[in-house]
Assembly symmetry: C2
């Protein structure tokens, strides 16, 4: 069993399934509205404004590292940014989330989507990665990220968040060739985007297939798997570990593992031990505290953190995280307590 070098990043070690102490911890959406210093910047800048400004994006990325002592920074960006140079008109509406004013609804819309100049348009994200990398000690890696082809496509088609994914599935069922063309375009764009982040200094990547769990295993295998697999094959050439994350993926885990990823993210719907067994112990696992547990009384929260650590059984390859992103109303103190507890329990 490989053991990490003292002074190395615990997150990188865990992603390589090396024995590492303490267990690394970071949080999805750790740079966000629950932090007063983030809200102060958001008072003066829009979300897209921050993403377009590498200095601001870097500042926001670093906030949770200084405040919480987490073991990784994740570059501040949005999974929908790559859709902008492809030709979609993205906005964020207060209280409603993302809105794409010209959603994709037909094969003709898909044919029109651009693929060139993407790297150029997304250069501010890479620049933010570069600034963050330069500001951090070597023990804290920068995580680059992108949405998975299915999840990004679902936003492009629905025009925003969705509950039933009717338009996405309809396009998939009615126009499988156009669907495949769309996902192939996204694979190229997302692959290029992630490669640029690695070149800028990202030492780990996370692929968010947040909504894959709305699909049956047979739909996932037929319409999504080949594309996600193709993306992971590309990412394999970059030489950094990749985390593959989704919500509600209990039934999809064998397929997600087959599609790729050194570490698989789990939500809280199954025990970390059960999920890891289903994933296979030759992969790492990331998770899996319910984000709402951070609203629980301290003793209850502590019990839940201890339970997750116990289920990891000291096995190498566990990255502590939530099962989904931090919610805006989360008490900062609770987040801080989780970091300290994970570190002290696994020191």
């Amino acid at each position: 069993m490989a053991v990490s070098v003292p002074g190395a990043s615990t997150l990188l070690s865990a992603a390589r399934r090396e024995v590492t102490r303490p267990t690394p911890v970071w949080f999805m959406r750790q740079a966000g509205r629950y932090l007063p210093e983030y809200r102060a910047i958001r008072e003066k800048h829009t979300l897209l404004g921050i993403c377009a400004n590498p200095q601001l994006a870097a500042e926001v990325t670093l906030q949770p590292v200084w405040r919480l002592g987490v073991d990784a920074a994740i570059v501040f960006a949005d999974i929908l940014l790559p859709l902008v140079p492809m030709g979609l008109d993205l906005a964020f509406v207060e209280g409603e989330g993302p809105l794409l004013r010209n959603p994709i609804r037909s094969p003709a819309d898909i044919a029109r989507l651009g693929e060139t100049d993407v790297a150029n348009a997304l250069a501010p994200v890479s620049e933010a990665v570069r600034l963050v990398r330069a500001a951090l000690p070597p023990t804290v890696p920068v995580i680059g990220f992108a949405g998975a082809p299915f999840t990004v496509a679902s936003y492009a088609i629905e025009g925003g968040s969705s509950r039933h994914f009717v338009e996405t599935k309809r396009l998939m069922y009615e126009h499988p060739d156009a669907w495949n063309a769309l996902l192939a375009k996204l694979v190229r764009v997302l692959g290029e985007y992630l490669a640029a982040q690695v070149e800028a200094g990202a030492e780990v990547l996370q692929v968010f297939d947040s909504w894959a769990g709305v699909l049956s295993p047979s739909d996932y295998r037929r319409y999504v798997f080949p594309h996600t697999r193709a993306l992971f094959v590309q990412l394999g050439l970059l030489g950094v570990p990749v985390i593959h994350f989704g919500v509600n993926t209990g039934e999809l885990l064998p397929l997600l593992v087959e599609a790729g990823g050194d570490v698989i993210g789990l939500d809280w719907r199954l025990g970390l031990d059960d999920g890891w067994k289903r994933i296979g112990f030759e992969r790492g696992v990331q998770g899996n505290l319910d984000p709402v547990a951070l609203f629980a009384p301290a003793a209850e929260l502590e019990k839940r953190v201890r339970d997750i650590i116990a289920r990891a059984e000291g096995r190498p390859g566990h990255i502590f995280n939530l099962g989904h992103g931090l919610l805006p109303a989360t008490p900062v103190d609770a987040v801080r307590r989780v970091v300290d507890l994970v570190h002290s329990l696994t020191a």
Copy 2:
């Protein structure tokens, strides 16, 4: 293996795991907006207005039986109706769904909730069951229903639909005694409500624990299971089969089965065969077509229906249904084709 009596209800036979031909089929939300004759009534009456008027409720309940030839009627009502006599102010806001203007947020709110006069306030639902029963041939049973304690509580606490169930889980974690008192009250009220429906002529019951799938198995076991189990114990005395339904319940299935139900509802996230195996073949299974499959081209929809029928392998105890409710934009023709196809494939 028991065989159903010719001329008996196929749905009742299947719920008793008798060999029955053809396989029975009905749809959650089969009385609803996708039907033009329903929309015509809704132009003149509110949803709560229909529920309060047994003649109208019966008419709307019968519409899909005449139009589609489904094998059961489900009384037109809403799972939140029992909250009204308990003291909550329920409204339906166009395009936003249910709204409870005075949600429960504290132990004091829970202590104030009434339990008396519930049967009286809900008498219109029983009366609708009576009218529907009288209008239908004996081969078509009436399904009575209620929400499960957790799902009803989640609406009462959140004040409407929710994405993250923060207030529900917070109350659960912060005030476990008050939470238990709330669920115990709901068990009494819902048990009484369902008993009244059976007395009025409902020959099958369905308990909707639609949102139980947001809970981890350990939270379900600790905060929900004892109450749902208590409800099912009460329902067992009524002498009618009970269907226990939820969404995203893959990981909870063993607990749902243990809580109760002659038939367990499955969503589309796992194959009917895999789900049934997890449930155990001594129970029936209901499901599990993705409601969005009804938007697919005819050939694709047919393939999916055939797949579900094949996965049931002619085993007694399958009730064909969706994995969740019919969506308002569903094409009526597609729904009709599914009924005919299920019947012809299993004749």
